[in-house]
């Protein structure tokens, strides 16, 4: 080929390459991308950046409680169309009884502040009739209030919630866990005198109107008065309650993470003074991840029967923990954050057994804009999906449905990448001192209800997407 021909070929290849990348950019009006998942309904959540959704069956209604990050530089306090007033992002309460037509009921404002510094990101809900000392007619919503407090609201009438208790004076908060049958809450807090932004404050919230502190807990080196290296901060715990007697803590977010397995009874009833020895006492083991990965969600699935091992004389069932990292940086500016499965059957020797990530090339996700990588998993333990299908929020790759019946070989069986809308916020990277921005979906969290509906929420202000499984994925779950 002569020089001119080579040049023309190079230009053509470059053009096709850039056209291919461009083709992956989302456009307003374009349809969603999906496999074995279908959109049932949406709500724009008043174009507020969304974090944790919790879906609660309340009488004959299904209510979605959705936490929000703070506002954006452009719109710090979006206007609530119901009140006509600007309100700092807080908690959205949406009636999803008819998932095709979700009804926005109420916005409870959160802490003033932008992005991670404001809002009310986390939500858990317990019925008063389940809590040992709760008002049987009440439904209690535990939420964070920005970085400074945890709040408990009575949401029995979800359109008219009432604040009943507040635990304040904190320097940070994050993804807590609340046992509805005992009332024990593992609150991710930043106690002012601790050396870390996020540790655990264990509270007895069996009577939500009168919170009783049980103890502070964290890693040796984080406690007040300690010196030297400070271990990485907590992201969130998940407890298996008094019957399982374990709490699985995920530390680190996108770096140097680890799973910590803790004896719940020793944690609740052991010596409580925050000294290194007492902090070590309830710990059973730790399993470090690579320094390149963090532990955002540590979701336990004890006693999973493994078909491949069914004829083995030992080890037919395994205790599994699914660990999900959180991607932090836009446009693949860090090591890949993904999903890991650990076999913790021998608790003192937990072992990583498998992993999952969305193939980047399947959507040129590093070029789409925003974050690409995992953020969180569904945390519902309702039978409809528990130990069968896990749903992973994967930022610009949307929601991914994994067949986890054999956690040694997790397999994607469906996905849904919502369409962007005019409300979808841009995501920027800095190149030579200047911002270069793109607009892409940023599915931040996903949760399911007992009916099998899947609720995905968007960090980039696109709102709530209610989904259902179809085809093979539906068969994996055993749904009709």
């Amino acid at each position: 080929m002569k020089g001119g021909g080579k040049l023309a070929l190079c230009v053509a290849i470059a053009f096709l390459g850039s056209a291919g990348a461009y083709a992956e950019q989302q456009k307003v009006g374009a349809p969603p991308e999906a496999s074995n998942m279908r959109l049932v309904g949406t709500n724009d959540l008043q174009a507020r950046s969304a974090y944790q959704p919790t879906i609660h069956h309340q009488g004959d209604r299904w209510i979605a409680y959705i936490g929000h990050h703070g506002g954006t530089d452009e719109i710090p306090d979006p206007v609530n169309p119901m009140s006509g007033k600007p309100e700092p992002n807080g908690t959205s309460i949406v009636d999803v009884t008819d998932p095709a037509h979700p009804q926005y009921l109420r916005h409870i404002p959160g802490q003033e502040g932008k992005y991670e510094s404001g809002g009310a990101q986390m939500v858990r809900v317990c019925d008063g009739k389940d809590l040992p000392k709760g008002d049987r007619s009440a439904v209690y919503m535990l939420r964070t209030f920005g970085s400074e407090a945890h709040e408990i609201w009575n949401v029995a009438d979800p359109a008219n919630p009432a604040l009943i208790a507040r635990i304040g004076g904190l320097k940070d908060t994050h993804k807590s866990w609340w046992e509805c049958d005992t009332g024990v809450a593992f609150l991710v807090s930043g106690a002012p005198d601790w050396r870390t932004r996020r540790m655990t404050q264990v509270y007895d919230l069996s009577d939500p109107a009168h919170p009783v502190k049980i103890r502070d807990f964290g890693l040796p080196g984080q406690e007040p008065g300690s010196t030297g290296a400070v271990p990485t901060e907590l992201h969130g715990p998940i407890s298996t309650g008094s019957s399982g007697n374990r709490v699985y803590f995920g530390y680190g977010t996108n770096k140097g993470g680890f799973l910590q397995i803790v004896d719940r009874e020793k944690l609740l009833n052991g010596p409580k003074q925050p000294i290194a020895e007492n902090l070590r006492y309830p710990e059973i083991s730790r399993m470090p991840l690579s320094a390149l990965n963090g532990a955002h969600t540590t979701f336990p699935m004890p006693g999973m029967p493994i078909a491949e091992f069914s004829h083995d004389k030992d080890g037919k069932t395994r205790d599994i923990v699914m660990i999900v990292d959180e991607a932090i940086l836009n446009e693949c500016g860090e090591a890949r954050q993904m999903v890991w499965f650990a076999d913790v059957t021998t608790e003192t020797r937990p072992m990583m057994i498998s992993s999952y990530t969305v193939p980047e090339a399947s959507g040129s996700f590093c070029e789409r804009g925003g974050r690409f990588g995992s953020h969180s998993s569904s945390e519902s333990m309702a039978p409809v999906y528990y130990k069968k299908i896990a749903f992973i929020a994967f930022f610009n790759a949307g929601v991914r449905a994994l067949d986890i019946r054999d956690p040694y070989h997790p397999r994607e069986v469906g996905y849904f990448i919502p369409s962007i809308t005019p409300a979808t916020d841009k995501r920027c990277v800095t190149i030579e001192g200047k911002d270069r921005c793109k607009v892409a979906i940023q599915t931040n969290n996903v949760e399911t209800d007992e009916r099998g509906y899947i609720y995905a929420v968007d960090r980039a202000n696109t709102g709530l997407h209610i989904l259902e499984l179809t085809g093979e994925a539906r068969a994996v779950a055993g749904l009709p």
Partner: protein, 179 residues
Amino acid sequence: MRAWLVIAIAALVLGVLSGVAAYETSTPRETWQEIAWPFPRDGWPAGRAFRCNAVACGGDIEVYIRPKLGFCNCTTGVADDDEVDRVADVDLISTQFVPLQAGKAVLVADMPGRMRTYDLKIGDGVPHGAIGIAVSHRCDLLVAAAQGRGDAAVVQRAALELLASAETARWVKFAMNTQ
């Protein structure tokens, strides 16, 4: 003749001035020798490491600098001394360090943050001083840790001199995407 004299004096003055300028800009390079990043791979890409000899800095001093992109509270920046303890890489030198006093505000390459001095425990039994520095731009951190035998104040003075040099500031701005 007089014109020649003026030209000669001007040339001499210019030569002296440029020599001074050259000395000032090249001082870090000559005083500080860049060395290989001495720590194992961790969650952040390696940064740059420098060593200053005893004659130039009053003691053998090493400084380690690196960006940590996406590791900062985007709104508050480096808000307190605990943050410096957590992020400034002093733990790479030794996990056993004790702060000597409350930290101070500092500005590095136009980025605000805090610095703090420490006593280090290292296996050789010799007292070591250290300094941790953390400054931020938007959601990103630049951290520096320095160590040397003896007085932490000497280590601090030397580290700040290195960070204030034009060459280092240029690299920092490049690495932090703030140029």
